[in-house]
Symmetry: C2
């Protein structure tokens, strides 16, 4: 799509390497905007209801948290990579509420990588992602296997 | 939060029962709006790029599809239930692209239910959800265990 070859390719996602996901401030306006469209449960829409629930405040929908992760992932390295997408996620765990005013940070840890047998230009990378709040508490974790093109395809 | 007792409680989610998730038309504007905020990969933002990719058209972000599922789930029965949330999802599989102009339908199948040992007013319901396009092709499936209050808590 452009003359620029992406900075990151399959070869860079070595097992055990860690990748920062930057940071993201979560605002009440964003929480309410997402929930209004996709998850209109009262504790995602109203601060008073959130405060009186076990969530302890206006809390982001779990799908909003996952979507904010996706943007952090895109900005940190995915958009400047040879990514070929992903067929799904192995799991998502929402460990603690993400509340209005929280600042999320995150990191990716590479669990495994292998090249495709049928398509020598392609590789599979198993990734574990952690998101933390400003108190260094884990709020969300997920794993998935992503596909990336090789920088230098293996000779057949 | 209101005097209305929800229509659906733990007891209603019997193993093997199926629950319709209604339907949802997916527009190009919605696909682009979601992707602009959460997943700005070119094939989610630009119809020409999507058409020339293996996705075959302007395709929704996988997280957008999951979020649209959440809204369908809310409107179909969750918002009128004793839902107490869910700690995560076991998996999400994106089986086919969701394209601009598609109409999604879906159903939930109840895989398992059990009451909490520590909290007799609470039960766990394992749910499988399928989303289809207008050609009856499976586009997304996911599973998770949700918590619901019992209508009539078990006597201790």
């Amino acid at each position: 799509m452009s003359d620029h070859f992406p900075r990151y390719a399959y070869e860079d996602f070595t097992i055990g390497s860690e990748w920062s996901l930057g940071s993201k401030l979560v605002t009440a306006e964003e929480i309410i905007a997402f929930a209004s469209v996709f998850d209109p449960q009262p504790f995602h829409l109203d601060e008073a209801v959130g405060k009186s629930s076990i969530l302890g405040g206006l809390a982001a929908s779990g799908w909003h948290t996952a979507s904010m992760f996706m943007r952090m992932f895109c900005d940190a390295y995915l958009l400047d990579s040879t990514s070929q997408g992903a067929p799904g996620v192995d799991y998502v765990k929402w460990k603690r509420p993400v509340l209005a005013g929280d600042t999320l940070t995150g990191k990716t840890t590479i669990l495994d990588q292998r090249t495709s047998r049928s398509k020598p230009s392609l590789g599979f990378v198993k990734m574990h992602h952690d998101l933390f709040n400003q108190h260094a508490q884990l709020v969300c974790e997920l794993e998935h296997t992503a596909m990336f093109s090789l920088r230098e395809p293996i000779e057949p």
